[in-house]
Symmetry: C2
Subunit: 199 residues, 2 copies
């Protein structure tokens, strides 16, 4: 008998992805669901919608609400929230390194380190030094930083982003269970529940 499975699509620049990434491993473990972490880029997907930055910047009222909402929810989860400057951060380097890190045993820890550096400590995640520190804390080799820039790995990230778009993903985090898409940190429980019932 196979365990239920779920794909977790996340973007390092995304506040709600932060809330999900820090909580998902323990919740997935409790639910008995195997999760594949899929870093992708929202930029190309937003561009198709006509946006050249985060919709939270374009729509001011929505942006103000988002920060307060994230603050309230993070408090409930015992997480800090600092607004990185600039917002959104450029998550390209982090996503490329994450692809390689996630093939290693402590890849999820690397991803969580990046989110904590960004939203817990306000660090610039496009700075290679930040990424190096996140690798180091996860006990991963520094060579991943250079390897992440090879063409095969760059291409893999584009493919994941294309796949996300093809699956109907328009924001992050998103969860895919079979043919079902769940969007948003507030749908993570529903997605896990769907996986255990239909996975």
């Amino acid at each position: 008998m196979t365990r239920p499975r779920m794909d977790f699509y996340f973007e390092f620049a995304s506040t709600y992805s932060y809330l999900s990434a820090l909580r998902l491993p323990s919740l997935a473990e409790a639910a008995g669901v195997d999760v594949r972490w899929r870093p992708f880029l929202l930029g190309p997907i937003f561009a198709v919608q006509g946006w050249n930055t985060s919709p939270f910047n374009i729509y001011a009222a929505k942006g103000r609400y988002m920060w307060r909402d994230v603050e309230r929810r993070a408090a409930r989860y015992g997480l800090d929230v600092i607004r990185p400057d600039p917002f959104p951060q450029n998550g390209l380097l982090a996503a490329r390194v994450a692809q390689l890190a996630l093939a290693q045993p402590r890849g999820i820890e690397f991803c969580q380190n990046v989110f904590l550096a960004e939203f817990g400590a306000g660090q610039d995640i496009s700075d290679p030094d930040t990424i190096k520190a996140c690798l180091a804390s996860a006990g991963l080799p520094m060579t991943l930083l250079a390897d992440a820039q090879n063409d095969t790995n760059k291409h893999a990230l584009r493919t994941t982003t294309d796949t996300a778009a093809r699956l109907g993903i328009f924001g992050a985090p998103s969860f895919i269970v079979g043919d079902e898409l769940f969007w948003g940190d507030d749908r993570m429980h529903d997605a896990l529940d769907w996986a255990t019932r239909h996975g």
Copy 2:
């Protein structure tokens, strides 16, 4: 000692407002929260954001997701979902009548009847006959239909919509508890919880 209070801002054309409106009375009663129902119009608020229709129509992927998400959630709540044609419906008449109906004991029932006619039965809620049937089912006088079109009542709806915008509301349903805004059917529990803890 006063009971905790909450304002429920809803738009008759909104699918997620339907999910909230049908469930709110029993949940608020259980939580001991007094709720003021505030029908308003999203049209003027969307127009400020540069949208001339529902964002679910403008952003196709988001729209496809919304219908599936509403379908899944409605199933959980034992509610039907029919896509009214056109979507979004014009909720102006319903909102005007609702303002007067809500001053009467069975006003909430009228509002729920409108949502059920629209999303449960696919009826046109801009049709006065639909509104009449909703009034009749709630045992409310037909005179409300004509009274709803007087200038004072029209002005009151504009004032509510202006107030919503001033409060930072950018979508529906929205819940106001003191200075806190909660957006979306999926934040209704949080809003009630906030009201009981801080109201």
